[in-house]
């Protein structure tokens, strides 16, 4: 191979690699943003810690507060009711033994949200502060996100919502999917989410919300001090709701 | 058909080809064959005309042809000989409805109906003012130019709307009334002035074309019949308009029966849209509309309903026409560029109009304004090229029918 052939080969190779990389980045750009790549490490990254040891059996303060704050539909029919946060029995295998535990289940605001990846109209997306949210103006009601969510946190409005407790906040009409927004409207103006406030008001203080990127925040402290767990961590969705005593 | 048998008995040998008759006095006439004209006719869609063997079946079978001076047999003969003068000054081609009864009966597949359609196109070009523009309108390669003209003119008008509005004293409405997002982009005074100006130019072209045609009719041999005028001009006009509205001549058609209904859909749909448009643009001076005129109309306002129904009828009629032409039939032609250009323009106007309406109701901005611009371009091409396109049949066929009634030339 003489010098000229080498130059030609090298030039071609560089061109192919660079354009291929550019094309790959261009084509996978929207997927990358949905999978949580390229997140600014210095930005606020909201996360939640739920201390199940403090959560009292039979208490529904957070559930009621959420429903009250966000006008979550309650038709009185279990098939139609929508829940942003609920108490469920979780099963886990410890050794060969199946253990049942009552936990609070809500949207995990994953850093790599599968719901946002499958949304055909980009109605579901991850905000810059890590909150996964639905733009109901855009949602076409295809329910892909409900199938994609490994936590079953997504709910669907099969009927127009008549429950309009908080007139300052919108309700949802028939045909859109929804889930916990981590009370983004309250966090934006510096207030804690409704469930956190309600839990403190009943004296339990089992739910905490804070900036996971800030090592001094309450949630970061608890996560570093206790052996917190996240639901279905093995799926790699990077959920941001941490449980103590799971 | 007993009438045709009677004809054969009474017609003298020379009469089915009056041009070949030597003049009564003077030397014999020599006919000049225009080969170029034959080639033009063939190129424009009358490629079958040389198959004609002049048997006269077409004239005998035509439901509209008069018994004493039949067509389209003589036109077929003229066309194959290339007698340009005779063909272009022949009013009979306008009495033909292109119903294809002659084409289906033609033993040679010469498609007289299509040949007559091409002759009509040439005749439109011949009578149009200015002629060169009519030639452009009927050439597919001129489409970019024909669409470019309205795009340019509309862009200029919209570009200068602010300065023009200030100079003429039209300012955006400031009252407490309804505002219409289209009128923010395309003010009504601007569009009215724009279309009135170019409409007036078109009207001049129509009048010149009409006068030229009337002169041709006055000179025509076929129409110069002895005896008094059987009825007044006014009564002839009334009779013809009644005939057009009821589609009496169309219903004699056998081969393309559905043309009766498709033409009704198109005519009445267009009529409905014209009526609504007139109602809107005259709302400022119309005492009936002045009191509570709301524009844009509510969806269930009778005028809006009429416009929507008219638009749908127009679209349905156009699609029946396309379906009719698409049917596999070797005898019936699939039409010529002259037809298709007009049909496409109609469909594009209505389709872009409905697209504008739908985008309006789903409030997609700025898409609705872009589509509205496109709609205006198509409206311009349809209306302003009227005297040069097949749309001109509205003028010439009506005049031909009126003159036929007026001169006593009976159409059976």
């Amino acid at each position: 191979m003489d010098r000229r052939d080498f130059m030609k080969l090298a030039g071609g190779t560089i061109l192919v690699i660079s354009s291929g990389t550019y094309a790959f980045q261009f084509l996978t750009g929207s997927i990358r943003s949905a999978t949580g790549e390229g997140i600014d490490p210095n930005a606020v990254r909201w996360g939640m810690v739920i201390d199940l040891t403090k959560c009292q059996e039979g208490c529904t303060a957070c559930l009621d507060a959420c429903r009250q704050e966000n006008n979550v539909a309650l038709h009185g029919d279990p098939k139609l009711d929508v829940h942003w946060i609920r108490k469920v029995k979780a099963e886990s295998m410890i050794g060969n033994e199946v253990q049942e535990k009552s936990i609070l289940l809500l949207c995990n605001h994953c850093d790599k949200p599968p719901c946002a990846q499958v949304c055909p109209v980009q109605a579901t997306y991850r905000r810059h502060d890590g909150i996964v949210i639905v733009d109901h103006h855009r949602c076409i009601g295809c329910r892909y996100c409900m199938i994609a969510c490994p936590y079953n946190a997504r709910q669907f409005n099969l009927k127009d919502n008549e429950h309009w407790a908080n007139k300052e906040r919108p309700k949802r009409s028939h045909g859109v999917a929804e889930a916990c927004t981590l009370c983004a409207h309250r966090l934006d103006v510096g207030k804690p989410p409704a469930c956190v406030e309600a839990c403190q008001n009943v004296g339990a203080g089992a739910i905490m919300v804070g900036n996971l990127n800030d090592a001094n925040s309450e949630v970061s402290q608890i996560i570093s001090r206790y052996a917190t767990k996240r639901l279905r961590e093995e799926l790699g969705t990077e959920p941001k709701v941490h449980y103590v005593g799971l | 058909m007993d009438t045709s048998e009677n004809n054969v008995a009474t017609i003298e040998p020379d009469q089915d080809n009056p041009i070949a008759v030597p003049p009564a006095e003077g030397p014999p006439m020599y006919l000049e064959s225009d080969i170029d004209f034959i080639i033009t006719l063939q190129k424009r869609g009358g490629d079958t005309l040389k198959k004609c063997m002049q048997c006269g079946t077409c004239s005998a079978t035509c439901g509209l042809s008069p018994d004493d001076a039949p067509f389209p047999g003589k036109e077929m003969a003229w066309a194959s000989w290339g007698l340009k003068e005779q063909l272009l000054n022949d009013p009979d081609v306008w009495l033909c409805y292109h119903c294809n009864d002659c084409s289906t009966r033609c033993p040679r597949g010469a498609k007289p109906a299509d040949v007559l359609a091409v002759v009509r196109q040439e005749s439109v070009i011949n009578m149009a003012f200015p002629r060169f523009f009519a030639r452009w309108v009927n050439q597919p390669q001129c489409i970019p130019l024909l669409l470019g003209i309205p795009v340019l003119l509309l862009t200029l008008a919209l570009y200068s709307k602010d300065k023009l509005g200030d100079a003429l004293g039209f300012s955006p409405p400031t009252g407490d009334g309804i505002i219409f997002s289209y009128s923010a982009m395309f003010p009504h005074w601007l569009l009215n002035m724009f279309f009135f100006f170019f409409g007036a130019l078109t009207l001049v072209a129509i009048v010149i074309g009409g006068v030229r045609f009337w002169k041709i009719l006055d000179r025509s041999v076929a129409y110069r019949l002895p005896g008094d005028r059987p009825r007044s001009l006014f009564r002839s006009i009334l009779k013809v308009f009644g005939n057009i509205i009821t589609h009496k001549d169309f219903s004699t058609c056998v081969a393309s029966r559905s043309r009766n209904y498709s033409h009704m859909c198109v005519l009445f749909g267009f009529g409905a849209l014209t009526v609504v448009t007139l109602w809107v643009i005259t709302s400022g001076i119309n005492p009936l509309a002045k009191g509570d005129f709301i524009y844009p109309f509510s969806f269930w306002s009778p005028w809006k309903v009429l416009a929507n129904v008219g638009g749908i009828a127009l679209l349905v009629g156009c699609f029946i026409m396309i379906w009719e032409r698409g049917k596999e039939n070797e005898q019936i032609g699939t039409g010529v560029y002259f037809d298709w250009a007009f049909l496409s323009a109609l469909i594009l106007v209505v389709a872009s109009g409905f697209a504008t309406e739908i985008l309006h109701y789903i409030r997609l901005e700025p898409h609705r304004h872009i589509v509205y611009f496109i709609h205006l371009v198509f409206v311009f091409t349809l209306l302003m090229y009227l005297p040069y396109s097949k749309f001109a049949h509205m003028i010439y066929r009506t005049i031909a029918k009126v003159y036929a009634e007026y001169s006593g030339r009976k159409v059976s």
């Binding site: 905000r127 502060d129 | 009429l306 009828a313």
Partner: protein
């Protein structure tokens, strides 16, 4: 001749009659409307002014008249996508334009352009 035969032989005439009736109907409607209304001018939809001391919306009146929907879209984008909340919001429109019936619907109902905000957002 039976009724069916009459219908069949006059088919195109009947079609023409129906078409003409449909075309003429709105004109008749308008004339009847004009006569029944008498000389009284018809009620034109118009916006009801808010309290006289308020003279300025968030933008110029002309801008609001022609572009309020664009402004609402822009606010929506800011709030929902980027969490930028400000004083300018649909909720705050209510503080001056107190009633949907007297404000939005005045024009929107008259021209059949139903805004779809109020299925989810509260506006009395």
């Amino acid at each position: 001749m039976s009724f069916k035969n009459v219908i069949q032989s006059r088919m195109s005439l009947i079609a023409v009659l129906i078409a003409v009736l449909i075309i003429v109907y709105p004109l008749g409607y308008s004339v009847a409307d004009y006569i029944s209304a008498g000389n009284a001018a018809g009620e034109k939809p118009f916006l009801e002014r808010t309290a006289p001391e308020i003279t300025q919306c968030v933008e110029d009146t002309i801008y609001m008249r022609y572009h309020h929907w664009e402004l609402l879209h822009a606010i929506r984008e800011d709030v929902v996508r980027y969490g930028k909340r400000s004083e300018v919001s649909l909720n705050n429109c209510r503080s001056c334009h107190t009633s949907r019936e007297k404000f939005c619907n005045k024009c929107h109902d008259a021209v059949s352009m139903k805004p779809d905000c109020f299925g989810c957002h509260y506006y009395p």
